[in-house]
């Protein structure tokens, strides 16, 4: 029976190949689109519940006074805090876009244990004021090595003569969790503060403070206390868990999941129709075969199985290839998209979803020809040309 299924598929090699090909593409696309959504949400899932983010309650683009740090440090339950300031510069060309943050190096190292240094050392980064620690992918993309000097032009914090800020690469890191991506450039807050004071004459503000909550403290009460400290200004703050902070960002990017599921729906319909089409053709051609089988004593169920089997085999092959290609292309895609969209990864759940869709399409496409084959009477089938 299984042999017959494959014989029938091989009878029209081009048609089978083309159907498998379109399924391969569609399942690949489904894996890809779904992974975009899961990657967006990955930061939420792996967030550290002991890290709290203090930001302006008014706007993403409004900074907080540096003096807030000492007040936050004094709140019971706060173990340490780290400044976190978006720098918004670029390397040589504005198109070389990646995130740069001015941070307190010692704090960064302690609060983010998932940042693992693979070249250079954390100490070297912490000890040298004009040094930076960069993500592995970023270092690879621009060919930076420990000890290199990297010029960064400040678009948001320009130097009066438009020249670049110079940084020494002291460490290259690899994140072990999705909370930090491997395309970020960290440098010293003190370096940032001193250079801005020299340019503008006044000390800069801070975008965000990150709190590490002590093991025995309750994050919820810490959040409430910190928010309460500044409820009368000058800048009202909003303290959130890391998961909530990441969720806000995903929400602000807009309805990407909705748009992508709409597209996924279109893909699904298109492949379903392609398979139904192929199976209907196969069903029509095999009328005589079915008649012969029935005349030989095969049951209705087995003729139904013959067509469903073909459909499932086609879809299984196509879906299987699609999943394999998606897995194989994971690294190149991650590299290609890394610039705008770091951390692209295909989750096991996505693979299961793809397998489910493949089987569903296979069953749906096989049902119509399968049923008509099982209902057909041998005499009628044989009579047909």
């Amino acid at each position: 029976m299984v042999a017959l299924v494959f014989r029938n598929l091989l009878k029209h090699p081009i048609r089978s190949l083309l159907t498998i090909g379109s399924l391969t593409i569609a399942i690949f696309l489904l894996c890809f689109l779904r992974s975009v959504v899961t990657t967006l949400e990955a930061g939420i899932a792996s967030a550290d519940s002991r890290r709290l983010w203090v930001q302006s309650a008014v706007s993403l683009f409004v900074d907080l006074p540096t003096a807030y740090q000492a007040k936050i440090d004094a709140v019971p339950g706060v173990e340490r805090t780290c400044k976190w300031q978006w720098f918004g510069g670029y390397y040589k060309e504005p198109s070389n876009f990646f995130a740069q943050f001015a941070v307190d190096p010692d704090e960064l190292i302690t609060i983010w244990p998932e940042v693992e240094v693979v070249a250079g050392s954390k100490e070297a980064f912490a000890n040298q004021r004009n040094s930076c620690m960069v993500g592995e992918e970023l270092a690879q993309e621009f060919g930076w090595k420990v000890g290199d000097q990297v010029p960064i032009i400040g678009a948001l914090f320009p130097r009066p003569d438009g020249s670049a800020y110079m940084f020494d690469v002291a460490a290259i890191y690899r994140p072990t969790r999705a909370t930090v991506d491997s395309r970020t450039f960290f440098f010293h807050w003190k370096f940032h503060a001193e250079s801005q004071e020299a340019i503008t004459g006044s000390a800069p503000n801070v975008g965000v403070f990150v709190i590490k909550v002590a093991q025995d403290a309750d994050p919820t009460s810490v959040m409430a206390t910190v928010d309460g400290l500044f409820e009368n200004g000058p800048q009202v703050v909003q303290t959130t868990t890391e998961a909530e902070f990441n969720r806000q960002f995903v929400s602000m990017v807009g309805n990407v999941p909705k748009l992508l599921s709409f597209i996924g729906g279109g893909v699904f319909i298109a492949i379903l129709l392609a398979c139904v089409n192929t199976m209907l053709m196969a069903g029509r051609e095999q009328v005589r075969d079915v008649g012969i089988m029935k005349a030989l004593g095969f049951t209705d169920g087995s003729t139904f199985g013959l067509l469903i089997g073909q459909s499932l085999a086609l879809c299984g092959l196509g879906g299987g290839f699609g999943i394999l290609i998606a897995l194989g292309a994971q690294v190149p895609i991650a590299t290609l998209l890394g610039r705008f969209f770091p951390g692209f990864r295909i989750l096991p759940e996505t693979i299961f979803l793809a397998i489910g869709v493949t089987i569903a399409v296979g069953l749906l496409a096989g049902i119509v020809p399968g049923r008509s084959a099982s209902r057909m009477r041998a005499v009628d089938a044989l009579r047909r040309q």
């Binding site: 602000m252 748009l259 298109a270 089409n277």
Partner: protein, 388 residues
Amino acid sequence: MLVPVSYNLRSLWVRRSSTLLTIIGIGATVAVLAGVLSLQQGFATLFAESGRTDVAIFLRPGATNEGDSAFRKDKAQRLIKTLPEIRSDENEQPLAGMECYVAVRRNRVGGGETNVPVRGVEQRSFDIYGDGIRIVGGRRFKPGADEVIVGAKLSDRIEDCRLGDVIVLNTAPLRVVGIFESDGPFASEIWGDLDRMLNALQRPSPNRVVAQLNDGVDVEELNERVKDDKEVPAKVMTEREYLTSQTSALSGTLLFLGAFLAIVMGTAAVFTATNTMLAAISSRTHEIGILLAAGFRPIPIFLSFLMEALLLGLLGGLVGCLLSLPLNGIETGATNFNTFTEVAFAFRVTPVVLMTAVTFSLVLGLFGGAIPAWRAARMVPVDALRRR
């Protein structure tokens, strides 16, 4: 001699279930492409078409959007008072004003946070934009008062954006006293008095200067002159140029997405079309034998089947266009990646979108039909006639 087209039409009709499935398959592919394109068109035209060419925007040199830009008030005033290119009103006062701009966190109706632009303007801005800002409910805010007016597109999307509501910015409660309409992205903004907004948001200085220009002023020439000015260097562009420049990131992303999907889904659709045409040809082997025996040359036969595939593609394209038409005018919101603020706009199924969709479907038909048509043309009449 060419094979009559009616032959192809009839053949599509005879195999209508298979034809229909292929058409819908191609249609779904085309509809996805058209949907993404109409999203991009709606977004891009909202910005480009509403921008005026006689209004100039002054930014700090190096700034790519108003959020990055800043002018100290005295410097901004100097720009306004000293440039002869700026149009004056009947009282000899320059039609120019300072504006501040901050994207603030707001809650969407129905949950989730987003960024909404707050613009602080002087009363002058109403004279500069003229019909661009139309109050449709309530009134304008009073100078210096804790009042704001809200773009009409926000009322249903963002909390506290209806007439009489109170919006709290930082520690300042601001009453919504008016709703305004605008054809461009202003309709997704909150406007208040410049000084009150600067104060409420604890900002030191305005972000940009806007001005109406005299007739015939060359903006590029003006830019050349003021960009290296010793006192107040500034980057000048028309409002249309400015707004168009604010669409690059999202437009680019959507076009990339559209092209990517078109190639990937298109390949799958070509495979389907090839399958359908192969089946059509194999069941018509006998007929093709008759055509060849009747004296039709291989090339007309090739063209005939290619035509059939093109028809299949065209029908799919039309179905795709029909599927995408209901999208036209549907209001949606997206985050403009250049400013990271949410802007409301409608899908626009423009002629460009439809033309692209139909062209794309024809290309799908062409690729899908090439191999089968070639196969048909190469048949040997005797063998073909022998097959039943």
